[in-house]
């Protein structure tokens, strides 16, 4: 209908590596799909919160929460299935990249849920993106898994190796150089953030945080 502007209700170029079928099959499945993949959810977002928002685009048939493969706890994605294709399209137009639980969520048309797809495919059990994520995300369990291990190691070393200073040094009396401007230490925002985060995720408490994060016992799983 529209020739000039691209509608928002088109599927992304993502293809599930485990999808059984040709790209023609996929296109056909998507063209009458009633299912949406929903991403960037907080781990703490409930089915009912999802229901409240997504039912504004149409009646919901079912919601399948994405789970950590080992912990069996929500790991930040889900599938929402409508009764009608048009409702799924409307959801793409009206809900995609708006906020739910104070996070901007992303929706994508999906060829349809199949058993097994509800589990995270990351090595640590969650989604792959949470394996390598470099930023700290309270709603998704803090650091990404790899980074979390690094941070934990850093914390351990700091604790073990640091020796407290008892005498404060006075510093040199005079600086002999070209410039007399004392350059302030560029204390960036990121430093402060890191400080607030405490560097270690345990300090941040979310009221609905389900205790027990996935640890690193898994070695056999390969990412998609």
């Amino acid at each position: 209908m529209s020739n000039i502007v691209q509608p928002l209700c088109v599927p992304s170029s993502y293809k599930d590596q485990q999808y059984q079928g040709t790209s023609t099959d996929l296109a056909k499945d998507l063209s009458n799909s009633t299912t949406l993949y929903v991403g960037n959810l907080s781990f703490y977002t409930t089915e009912e919160q999802i229901y409240e928002l997504f039912s504004k685009a149409g009646e919901i048939k079912r919601i399948i929460m994405g789970l950590d493969k080992f912990q069996k706890t929500p790991c930040g994605f889900c599938f929402v299935e409508y009764y009608h294709h048009q409702d799924a399209l409307d959801c793409m137009k009206y809900v995609n990249s708006t906020k739910l639980d104070e996070r901007i969520i992303r929706t994508d048309l999906d060829p349809g849920y199949r058993e097994g797809r509800q589990f995270g495919r990351g090595r640590s059990g969650g989604q792959v993106r949470d394996e390598y994520r470099q930023d700290y995300d309270t709603g998704r369990g803090g650091w990404g898994h790899v980074r979390a291990r690094q941070e934990a190691e850093r914390a351990r070393r700091q604790k073990e190796e640091y020796e407290a200073i008892t005498t404060i040094p006075a510093g040199a009396g005079e600086y002999k150089g070209k410039s007399t401007i004392t350059k302030k230490h560029p204390r960036s925002e990121d430093d402060e953030d890191a400080e607030n985060y405490g560097g270690v995720q345990e300090k941040v408490k979310n009221p609905r945080f389900r205790e027990g994060r996935s640890d690193d016992e898994d070695e056999m799983q390969t990412g998609n």
Partner: protein
Amino acid sequence: MERSPDETGGSRRNDNDERRGNGGRDRKQRERGRSYSESQDQVTDDSPEKKLSTLLIILGDKMTPQEIHKNIEKIADIVQTEYSKYEPLVLKTIKNCFMELPMKTFIYGTLVGLVNVKRPDIGSAVVKMTAQTLQQCLNEGNWRGAKFTLKFFAELTNANVILPRTMLDIYDDLLTTLDEPNVKLYRADTIVYIVLSTLPFVALQLRERSPEMLDSILSKIERYFESRERAIAEIGGSVVLHSVTPYIGSNLPYDQSDTLDILWSQIQSLRNKGWECKILLKPWSDYDSFLVTSDQHEVDKFIVKEHSHKLCNSLPVPLFRVFGDLEDETIVDSYKTTDISYFLIRDIIDDIIEIYEINRKECTKYLKDLPYNFASGTFVEKDTTTSITNSEVKVKDEPDIKIEPDMDTFSNNWGIDNSKEANASSISNQGIVGFKLEQIIVEEIFSHIFRLPQPRFKPIFYHSLLTEICKICGWLSLYLGKAIGILFDRLGIMDVECCYRFWNWFAHHLSNFGFVWNWKDWESTLQLDPMHPKVCFIRETLEKTIRYSYYDRIRSTIPEEFLILFPTAEPSTNFRYEDPDHRLNSFATSLISKLRNKSPNSEIQAHLEEVGKSFPDLPAKEKEQTIRDLFVQCVLMLGSKSFSHVLNVIERYLLILQSLNETPESRLHTVKIVAEFWVNNTQFLGILLDKLLNYRVIDAIAVISWLFSNEMEKDIAKSYVWEIMKNTINKVISRVKQVISKREMVLNPQSEIGGQGVDITSEEDKKINTQELHTVENTLNAVTREQKEVLLKVAQMFVSLLDNRLKTYESQGITDAMSQLCFWWAYGFFKEIARTYQPQISTFLVTMETIVITPDLNQCILNVIEMVKAFEQMKNATIENDFS
């Protein structure tokens, strides 16, 4: 440095596409995850075809009038040289431009005008294509498209591609519709609207070159409006108009007239001013001496085919305003609704919203850039004469075609801070009264949200659009905030359905902006009656925001004083058998563990029989009730963890549930059990009733009976009650619709395949078809009967509720029932139900009247039934053609 919650990590991460997220690919994915509009701008296809069409599409975007001139000339040259090579592409792109970029029609009209001087063959082809487009729109009942085409013809007239005489002929062709014997009101109105709404663009030329013919067309329309007024008066049309106004009661802020009537008075006022419309840009006027040398082209006659009322708007649209006529001096209302400019701006905003419903991001962009499509000074605090872009359209031999001005500079210049203008500056040197674009956009979007009976699109579209605009254009938030304040103050004079839509939107909006609101401003509301619409608005907004978030989070966002409107406890279950002292506690505990262990249906059945046996003295009926209560509560308890949990347990034990709910009484009982169990979580209650209806454990009549039971009267002003009612009715109606479409498929199996192939159905197959058809017809009869029963029941319940109230008030000496808030809500919702389901109710209106109407029924209740009748009459109304 402080960062707003929107700008913190969250939004950075959002661009991160987690589905493809995988270490090394991260960056690339981040790029790809960007918005569609952005990726669209990065034209990957750099074929000459793509370049040419892009040049046309972006022509005039964010350009000052001077830049527009320069660029039109350049593009005109390009079109002339490239046309022979790309003829179909050029024609198609021009069509797309005037059909999908109607805010820039004047640019495309002028462009074709310039091309036509040297290449009349191109002008002729464009006119031919435009004529075909118009006829196609008329055939399809695509009235908006027809309006856009007329607008393009108007600009082609200005650019001397067709004669004013030709334009008047086109108008005349359309207006012959008015001469049809007993033409339908909606049909005539539609035609008159598309003529009047495009006339301001071309009227000056028409008056100069063919004044007599213009006058004759206007007198025809004038006579039409006279007959129309008479016809509407005869069918009680004012009843319809007053039933679809967002503001009701006395002391209204302004006159909510029919917008078509207003358009006619705006046109007349424009005529009195000599057709001078100063807000329009007229690039063609600078080329007069050049354009005068061109050839003009003719068009064939146009025919307006018959259309069903579904393709037209058969109900009047009252003017909706938020701002204006206010005492608040900080809001400039320097414009009057009588000015055609006000119409033209709102009309183009309406067009943009309609066209770009598919992409709210693009929609926002075009709304924001509207000042570039009007004369300088049209909008206050925005001067489009100064250049904001150094770049221009580059001619074809230069490879890239970027004409992207610096967006940041632009939006900063246009910030709210600059808008604290003195009222004096709102009148520009050209003598145009400046409009506030922000105000009109907010007003127009709310007019869509509050449109009765239904908005054109799902309400969530408008919610997301407002969110998008607030995100992209911070300047709008100030006016949105003001609008919220004004609308909140008007809640007492708003239709209850609009109150509902308002808090529904507000809660969703807050969920997109960190639930930040200055509740303290509304502190005085806390003194009002708990049923006052303002109190209900706050209470319902809070209840809904909890659903989007969670109890403690929302509780932390509101001031202490407002806690009286906040639920006292978190949403929770109310499981009666939990009490260890309950006589059925042990039965319940073992039942739950059996259910949890997924014991087979037979085992559960046996367990329930055991329960029955333990009460040998209980009468059969009570025994049944005890078992039902125990079982349903245990199912709910086990499923209380989430929506999916409850669906699983219901599906597993569906047969038992159904066997326990075979009579109307039992179904009502189950509804009440669910309502009691989820009394502290109305969201779960709503979801469960909905799903139990789907699984056919309960039926619509049971839900309706419960909603009107005495214990529910206290919740009459609560959102969830009306949501459940509408949801239940919608379910029944959608079943009818589904069966009808199924019957269509049985009747025309070919249509599904889509081919007009040879009929290879054998006699055998045809027999099966009749068999199938018979079954479908039976189902259709059943679901239609249910629809009628349910709607009749709702009407009966409302009438008896209202009637009882009236009688009580009478005995108490209360004369003004509407002053009683309980009555105000109930009456308002009755009106809303009748208005929304009027098409269905009208099919059995006579039955309804005989059942519902009693001799001593109060007039205000009768008015609702009159309203249903008037709506139907309006749809079928005709106009006597004594005005030709």
